[in-house]
Symmetry: C2
Subunit: 233 residues, 2 copies
DNA sequence: ATTACTAATCATCGAGTAG
DNA sequence: TCTACTCGATGATTAGTAA
């Protein structure tokens, strides 16, 4: 588990309390990930084994932390998780998945996308290129293959976030700061490559792949193609 | 989630506190499921974002609740989860899995075993037979096919425990009490059957199947055969 | 019925420190 | 070093009740 992932900073919110994840889990189990669910504070209290008053308080705290949204128009409130709330719960899920399904490799499904071409800019930086040669043993093509990850495969990204990988250090060049990243050996349709993730940024649903050559042309990939990449841990 | 699954009674322990599952999760992530891991109270405190003193206290509470075992012989303590502790964490995992991988069917792998022939005794009871005819629409063969479930498939059993299913009520006959159960439609190698689970008992690694005919002879199954059963929710 | 405020109670936590 | 005790401070929960 990442060192920052402690109560005081969990979910990047300043007000995240230890029991919030569990509360979110119960709302999620009622369908709060897909849409609003009718849930009185009394009902929530019963599910959590606490009083109506405490449950009401927790709802207020989750609202304050932007982890749920509420519709208080009708007699009975309706709640749903925010994207941030879903993300927090999915991260917790990733932890448990790591406990029981620790593997040497993860298969992640994604859709080929163009992105903003930002990857190429970063791949051209000398500060990165030298480290790639040193730590990965090759100098990658100056561009990345961007995969959009969705649905059940998102949890795999959360697992990667918590695995060490090969660390590429951040640096500064001409007054600009370039953040650190980590790499995992991977293969895409039999072609060896590396998955690369920023060290700090979370909340992403993208996975970038780098390789010796130009993956897109080598594999004849186009935007929208569905692929499965095998990432080794 | 089952109504009993609240803090006060979680894991059937009288002393289970809300943060115990999270503490167990961190120990599990370090390898505490497979064996002892060296873990000082200071280290645990850092992982949980609490002080060394509080972490020490949590270790004592987990020991008291029979959720971990400890080896305090060396300079640094070593801890591991008990079966009860693993079970508690796996149940939590099942909750999260249900949130993100809610499906209409679960595929569960198991090994055919003979068991003690107890299944047949229960299947002969009139109190059950009448309910099977009424609620499942057929009267099953007077015996069960017993599957031993292991490893990663155990979490599927925990998911079934939390799903409603078709409830078979308990009853008393000749002064003896017969507990309730719940059934899920299933198929084994293309043959329609039902999975049946006791309503109260937990901590099992067995799954019993009932069907119109004798599954074992119909499918040519022997003890030790590996099968996959598709259970519909 | 609801939600949620306030005040009192109760539990959790960490600093200091002993073994 | 380590674990873990005491105890005062902090934080969480609930009963009573308002709206």
């Amino acid at each position: 588990m990442s060192p920052e992932n402690v109560y005081g900073s969990r979910g990047h919110g300043r007000h995240t309390k230890p029991y919030h994840v569990d509360t979110l889990k119960h709302i999620a189990l009622l369908g709060g990930v897909k849409g609003y669910v009718s849930l009185s504070s009394k009902e929530l209290g019963e599910k959590l084994g606490i009083s109506q008053q405490s449950a009401s308080q927790r709802i207020l705290e989750l609202l304050e932390a932007d982890l749920i949204q509420r519709d208080l128009a009708a007699r009975k409130q309706r709640v749903r998780l925010t994207a941030k709330g879903v993300d927090l719960v999915r991260r917790e899920y990733a932890d448990y998945k790591r406990v029981f399904e620790a593997r040497e490799a993860l298969t992640i499904h994604g859709t080929v996308t163009s992105g903003l071409g930002e990857g190429a800019f970063y791949m051209k930086q000398r500060g990165y290129k030298e480290q790639f040669r040193e730590k990965l043993g090759f100098e990658p093509y100056e561009g990345t293959l961007n995969l959009k990850i969705g649905g059940e495969d998102l949890v795999a990204l959360n697992i990667l976030e918590e695995e060490p990988g090969v660390v590429i250090d951040g640096f500064t060049d001409s007054g600009r700061t370039f953040g650190g990243a980590k790499c995992f050996a991977a293969s895409l349709k039999g072609v060896e490559c590396h998955a690369i993730l920023p060290l700090r940024t979370h909340h992403t649903d993208n996975l970038e792949l780098i390789a010796r050559g130009h993956l897109r042309s080598k594999l004849g990939l186009r935007d929208g193609d569905e692929v499965a990449v095998e990432v080794r841990l």
